[in-house]
């Protein structure tokens, strides 16, 4: 069984991000991290390894430093990785990204399941997973929080607005994993040891982590990057503080807090409105 997991390196939210004059993120300056949503996808892929003996391949698209998150994935137990790295991919929107990833997935070989995070913390579109499934022409399960494989079928529980829904579909399939799924288990000793070995040994590294260009995956450069992206960023604007007044009532007996609440006229007005 083969599981793929698509992961992305994003600017570290807890660090100060460098912002260019035009309002875009200066990725060279920003501290980098594995997209937090992808941690759940990574854990789901590793579950298929633990439960069904799957071989797990991590795939990322990004500039050379993105190899850091592939190392991180290997430290957590991923078997091998593909790194799509090409300058012509710069400024890709979701359409162009899904196209490039589609070609990378095809290049990486046969798969039973492709796991994606729900969305990224830099783009926040949640579009790439579903677009990829459409391009691959396989079933997709979105907002998946748990799953099992029975024979050739995937049985999955997905989160909906009103609760959960259990669905089933044939394999292969694309699954986007909700952040209510299992949290990513800690990296393993063996995984960390393997990363050390790969960092030392270039030959072994090239076997385990394939770095590929658009030409390698036979993608049309005209459909990638800025050229292949119909999205136009007209402008970015700073928004001011949003949200209303918030008052916390705490640390007193309930009766006292209720009377405090009633005494707060602004809240009473709010309720009447």
């Amino acid at each position: 069984m083969n599981s793929f997991v698509l992961i992305k390196q994003v600017p570290d939210q807890s660090a100060k991000a460098g912002v260019n004059a035009d309002g875009t993120i200066d990725r060279a300056k920003a501290k980098r991290m594995l997209n937090p949503f992808d941690c759940f996808a990574l854990e789901a892929a590793l579950q298929t390894k633990r439960l069904y003996g799957a071989t797990v391949t991590a795939i990322t698209m990004g500039p050379p430093p993105a190899i850091e998150i592939l190392y991180e994935a290997i430290a957590h137990g991923v078997d091998q990785a593909v790194h799509l790295c090409d300058r012509r991919l710069a400024a890709s929107d979701t359409l162009a990204t899904a196209y490039a990833l589609y070609n990378t997935v095809r290049y990486a070989g046969d798969f039973d399941l492709v796991f994606c995070g729900l969305q990224t913390t830099d783009g926040d579109t949640a579009q790439v997973g579903p677009q990829l499934a459409e391009r691959l022409q396989v079933p997709q399960v979105t907002y998946c929080e748990s799953f099992e494989i029975q024979g050739e079928k995937l049985i999955a529980r997905r989160v909906t607005e009103s609760g959960t829904q259990v669905v089933q579909c044939p394999l292969p399939a694309v699954v986007t994993v909700a952040n209510s799924a299992h949290r990513l288990a800690y990296r393993t000793l063996r995984g960390v040891q393997r990363v050390h070995q790969l960092q030392r040994d270039e030959v072994e590294r090239n076997q385990v982590i394939q770095t590929v260009s658009l030409d390698d995956i036979q993608a049309d450069p005209a459909r990638c990057g800025l050229k292949g992206s119909p999205t136009i960023v007209a402008a970015t604007e700073k928004v001011g503080e949003i949200g209303g007044k918030c008052v916390l009532f705490q640390g007193k007996p309930i009766e006292a807090m209720v009377s405090d609440l009633l005494a707060d006229i602004s809240l009473v007005e709010l309720v009447q409105r």
Binding site: Y186, L189, H196
Partner: protein, 572 residues
Amino acid sequence: MSSPIRYDLLLVGGSSSNLILAHRLLDLAKLSGLKLSIAILEKGQQFGAHIVSGAISNPHVIARLFPDYKENGFPLEGFVTDSHLSVLGADKKWDLPEKIVPKGFKKDGYAILSLSHVIRWLADALQTKAKEIPNVQLDLFPGFAAHEILYDHQDRVIGVRASESGALNDDAVYADYTCFGDKGFISKDLVAKFDLRPNPQLWSVGVKEVWEVQEDYQGQVWHTLGYPILDGTFSGGFVYGMAHKRLALGLIVSLDSQNPNINPQQRLQDYKSHPWIQKLLTGGKLRKYGAAVIPEGGFYSLPTRFAVEGALLLGDALGVLDVASLSGVDRAMETGYIAANLLHDTFLTQNFALMEHYQKQVLESFVGQDLHTSRYFREAFLENRRLLEQYLPAVTNKVDQGHPWLGSLQYGMGKPIQRTTDTIRALNLILGKTKSEEPVTYTSCHESIKPEFNPAAVAVNTKIAPEILYTRPDAVFFAAPKYHEGNRHIQEFSASTCQECIATYDKLGRTTPCVSDCTAEVHRIDSFENGRVHGMSLENCIQCRTCEIVCPRVNLRVNPTYEGSGPDFYGL
């Protein structure tokens, strides 16, 4: 089944001793071509994350390994230009005249260090160095602690367990030889198994804050005696001027105190309320807080054997800190240096019997020599409790009145002949001017505690700028602890034992040592309908291990954490 994870050498703990060991060993292997694989386990998320120290250190070992350490990026906070030993009253400070400052407290020319920075630098430099030496394979494992020592059927140490997946081959790191450079988190098991320490270790706890202040005090250092701890507890304070207008200040409090309720973090706040320190901190900002225990027993707390089959003890695991000169860092580094030389020859010849020389070489080095010289340092204060219970308070009292010398006189006049002979004897013991080799027996910290002990009242300065003081829960924020879900690293063996202890202290109208002496608001007493029980807020823990040491009934055990959980001391 997967193959075991195996190395030639396993270093437990990203400590100064282990990192110097690794540096020295790599230098030697580069020259000899010795083929060697080394793994280093560090329980913190990063190297240096669980490291707190003063630190003023003689840089001789560093200079031996890195002759260019002043220019190569080694993190220095400066060199001591102005060193003082001071006695604090509640109000005034008296700097002892140069002539009567003991040699061990003269620190001029020593390096001022932030040890957490030094550790991170040593670890980074080690990785860079290893890249140049193809015959050495060096793997660092930050975020992995040793949780269990593994032995073969002949009780030879063969490695440690470092994770808990359940499959031993995935969790264990095996090695031909293991070095323990930890602060006792795991080496205590080795010591216990082979009964290596018949005389208990005496522990102190050090609480430390780093401040950004208005003035530049780089190079100025003060060691202080007296205020705020005048109840007979062996203690002292320090203020070190670091680079970039930063100050390190802290209080070191011995845990073999009779006082069950010390509360070191709050005593540090009392210390800061001294007018002299208040002035230093005015307009400043607290940047970091941390705490760690310090082995102070010295010569007579040394293990009977420094090495067992397949493993040895270094630094604080061994207990080589010299309390007379307050130096631990260079001593720990030296044990690593000595061990590296022997390990190199051992691996080259595959003759593990060579490691038997380790103990002799440590004892013959300046480490062992100084420990021997100050072998009665702690005993001098234990034997003659009046020194700290009466003499020191008498002096601090007179310091406040502006006549520090009168304090000694007044104390001596009480019982002139006996007190003079006692004090001369104590001075000889403290300064190592005695020929006696008679071993001393220590009482372990938890047995020294007297529940009914009544500490002498200390006048705390009330004219305090409140913004420089921090409650214990607030201080925790500045130690930045972070824990994974489901963490349970402190074990309480028996709930009923805790309840008995609580009842004992409740009767006396005071709280238990674990609650009062905790440096981070972990231990608490919860009241329920059926009684009062011990509870813990483990997410606050900054892993100093004080509770384990002071628990009167030895009912607590602090284990290393999983997943690199714990405080972030980087900067201390």
